[in-house]
């Protein structure tokens, strides 16, 4: 059956654009798997960019229809040009970036275009009288890369970098002058130079104390207003004390602590900058995963933005399309229709619908085609309301950090000791206590260890949104997984092929893949993926007819075939040459099921070995949930749970629960959990409100993130105890009157280096 009639056998080749295996007969010149790829190649070759195919590192993604409503995207207008920043998905190598940028520049009307390799973002300037944004976006999506609007783009905050630059410059000069002054203690120095060096130091320390240290004062003041003694408070007291003493001592011609002051502020600002960078890259990457694309809907045969719909509109929703608003089915185009509502219910299996049934926005038509009367749009849809509720619930209080809990005691004790020193040795000694007690190492311990933890977690695929979330992650005892889309892929995969009489499994797969060669339907993707896995090349089907509700038919090797929905979880391939038209003769059946992720069982085992309790929580039928749980190695199961029941279950555990989910139906549970983790492939609204996002295709990052959080906690503990011991010793010495500025200048960087070394071990402990 596999050999076509007449001529030489087919040659298996890769599609020249996307690399999918296809068949080419000796006479044929078909080099592309589908029209989309052919068009993409025509654009690239036509722009003289053929070098792309030689220099790219991986095949391009297959072009897909773009359903974004580009008319609704906010554009920056100036006199005669428009500009926009977009995210582009699917860019994997520098050749991808290059070809996208060149194709944009070659588009008439586009005046400037830069595509960033690091962030996958494009900045495009164009002349609105010659081209419009939808046309520009279509150029990109025709290549196979997926453009997507960005929401709420934050400008990078340069404040800390500028402060670090100034602090670095000033403190290095102060250090140089101080070294001369200290040398003068031992070898003698001309008093004129002492005055010069001290006044210069004071001039250099002034911008540090007044401007560079501002974030510390702001933090301390904010804490005071909320009646919390923040770690910034003792630090601020120390900085202000050192500067005030510096001004007084310079005028009086005595020794100052300005070198310690400048070093302290520089180190603290550097630590903060590092923490901010780590957190921002995680947040940016997580936001990039959350697609905020406005969708399109078809009203009376015309595509309109979903935001333009009003109640009462009649929409046509075809096979494989998403429903853009909540509504009631008024007509079925075929005999029957099935809709997948996994977004809401978490069930991957499509549900059979009838006239009069209610459907919600975000559902996918898997079978047939329907006509819907709109009942609710935009923010009134069930999906949007659940997302809004989720955003409110996610705004929960976080536990104070270890260093913030120490801060009040520390501040109180320091002030008491300073008063004691004042009584024993006068104002000079009280000043020494305030300076030495300034908890530089303790204040650095938090930011450095947190940044190290966030980085270690992000490198392993779990993007944690904040230091607070990382802290909560270290308190987890129970890990609960949602089933569909989390433990499983959330999309069907081919699990079994039954060949009828007179044919083989691979022949059935070959014909089915040929029929589905150009389709974007999830079942088509599953069949093509299976064909690629088994190394079956796709033949070209002629005269393809797609009948909503009854499948697809086409002519392969001179025979007409039909692929249609069979029993639950099956598609049937029938040969039209068979008069009975069943799958028994020459055809076959392909079983499709949502299967568990490759690393699910491994991750569950790793979590159990680390002492976590692992639970599978799902809204699906108990038998299905039990089967998946057994495959993944999970013994504790909660089945048949509604979104509210899931959240109630999470609350009943009394804290320490990590919930991993992907859909809006998991929203309440994600919000109720101590830490909510969203799958990056999940729904945008879930990804935006979760505390952490899995950025890879798998569950391994969850276990790695938990390890990183524990490692960061261990580092903070170690650092805090080491710097407390250091401070206790130094303050005792200061009260006794043994500390002078030189000793402080040596001890300060030593204690900070100790803290940096502690933070550097987070990466090692995460492994």
């Amino acid at each position: 059956m596999t050999a076509p009639a007449g001529g030489a056998g087919p040659i298996a080749v890769g599609c020249a654009h996307c690399g999918a295996a296809i068949e080419r007969s000796a006479a044929q010149q078909a080099l592309y798997c589908c029209g989309g790829c052919e068009m993409a190649a025509a654009i690239i070759q036509g722009s003289g960019l053929g070098a792309y195919y030689e220099s790219r590192e991986s095949p391009a993604p297959r072009p897909q229809a773009d359903s974004t409503a580009w008319d609704a995207v906010a554009i920056e207008h100036s006199d005669d040009r428009c500009a926009v920043t977009l995210a582009i998905d699917g860019l994997t190598c520098s050749a991808c970036v290059w070809v996208t940028e060149r194709v944009l520049l070659a588009t008439p009307g586009v005046q400037a275009a830069t595509v960033s390799h690091a962030t996958g973002r494009a900045r495009i300037d164009w002349d609105p009288s010659r081209i419009a944004l939808p046309a520009i976006a279509r150029r990109i999506s025709m290549l196979g890369y997926r453009p997507r609007p960005l929401s709420g783009e934050a400008k990078p905050d340069r404040g800390l970098l500028l402060r670090l630059g100034v602090a670095g410059f000033c403190s290095m000069n102060i250090m140089l002058l101080s070294a001369s002054l200290y040398a003068g203690w031992f070898d003698g120095i001309d008093p004129r130079f002492v005055g010069l060096f001290q006044w210069t130091s004071l001039a250099l320390a002034t911008p540090i104390a007044l401007w560079c240290a501002e974030p510390l004062y702001v933090g301390a003041w904010a804490g005071l207003r909320h009646r919390v003694l923040h770690m910034d408070l003792p630090v601020s007291i120390g900085v202000i004390a050192m500067y005030a003493q510096g001004v007084y001592a310079t005028i009086a011609g005595r020794d100052t602590w300005l070198d310690s002051l400048s070093m302290l502020v520089t180190l603290l600002i550097a630590g903060r900058l590092w923490e901010q960078r780590g957190r921002r890259s995680a947040v940016e990457a997580a936001t990039a995963l959350a697609s905020t694309a406005p969708r399109v809907a078809r009203r009376a045969g015309v595509d309109v933005a979903a935001s333009a719909l009003i109640v009462g509109d009649i929409l046509d929703v075809g096979l494989g399309e998403e429903i853009a608003a909540d509504g009631i089915i008024v007509r079925l185009s075929g005999a029957r229709a099935r809709v997948r509502m996994s977004l809401l219910t978490g069930e991957a299996e499509p549900v059979e619908v009838r006239v009069g049934d209610a459907v919600v926005a975000g559902s996918l038509v898997e079978d047939g085609a329907i006509v819907v009367r709109v009942e609710a749009t935009g923010g009134d849809t069930l999906l949007a309301r659940m997302a809004a509720e989720l955003a409110r619930a996610a705004d929960r209080p976080t536990p104070p950090s270890l260093t913030d809990r120490i801060a009040p005691w520390f501040t109180g004790l320091t002030l008491i000791l300073a008063a004691l020193a004042l009584a024993i040795g006068g104002p000079e000694r009280a000043m020494a206590v305030l300076v030495v007690a300034c908890p530089c190492a303790l204040a650095l311990a938090g930011p450095l260890s947190t940044a190290a933890g966030l980085g270690a977690s992000a490198r392993r695929g779990l993007l944690v949104r904040s230091g607070e979330a990382l802290r909560s992650l270290a308190t987890i005892t129970t890990v609960a997984f949602d089933k569909t889309g989390t433990i499983t892929h959330g999309e069907p995969a081919v699990t079994a092929i039954t060949a009828g009489t007179g044919t083989t499994e691979s022949a059935v797969l070959r014909i089915a893949a040929g029929l589905e060669r150009a389709s974007g339907h999830p079942i088509a993707r599953a069949i093509r993926a299976e064909a690629a896995r088994r190394g079956v090349a796709m033949p070209e089907a002629l005269d393809l007819v797609e009948q909503p509700g009854s499948g697809i038919s086409g002519v392969i090797d001179g025979v007409r075939w039909t692929l249609r929905a069979g029993a639950a979880g099956q598609v049937e391939l029938c040969c039209d040459a068979d008069p009975a038209h069943t799958s028994q003769n020459k055809g076959g059946r392909i079983g499709l099921r949502d299967v568990i992720r490759d690393d699910a069982a491994r991750t569950v085992a790793a979590l159990k070995a680390a002492g976590y309790r692992v639970v599978l929580v799902s809204g699906d039928h108990p038998e299905v949930v039990q089967r998946i749980a057994a495959e993944a190695g999970i013994t504790e199961v909660l089945a048949g749970a509604t979104p509210e029941a899931k959240a109630a279950w999470v609350r009943a555990q009394g804290g320490g629960v990590l919930f991993v989910g992907d859909g809006v139906n998991d929203g309440p549970a994600l919000a109720a959990a101590t830490v909510g983790v969203a799958m990056g492939t999940g729904v945008a609204s879930t990804v935006t409100v979760a505390d952490a996002v899995v950025a890879r295709d798998g569950l391994g990052p969850v276990a790695a993130g938990l390890r990183a959080a524990r490692a960061a906690k261990r580092a903070i503990r170690g650092n805090a105890s080491r710097s407390l011991i250091y401070n206790a010793l130094a303050v005792t010495a200061a009260v006794a009157g043994w500390v002078n500025p030189l000793i402080a200048a040596v001890l300060m960087p030593l204690s900070s280096a100790m803290v940096a070394w502690g933070a550097a071990r987070v990466e090692k402990w995460t492994r």
Binding site: H117, R158, L161, F169
Partner: protein
């Protein structure tokens, strides 16, 4: 050694000039993206 009276302010002034240059560059976004330009030089035009 008396030259130090002039040399120290000159040295600090020179340093401050470069610090000002850094501030100017940083506030113009020179350090916002440190990865892309390095990759971009491999693009042949």
């Amino acid at each position: 050694m008396d030259a130090l009276i002039f040399l120290v302010p000159i040295a600090v002034g020179l340093g401050a000039l470069f610090a000002a240059l850094f501030l100017y560059a940083a506030s113009r976004g020179q350090f916002d993206d440190l990865e892309d330009p390095a990759v971009r030089m491999f693009d042949e035009d």
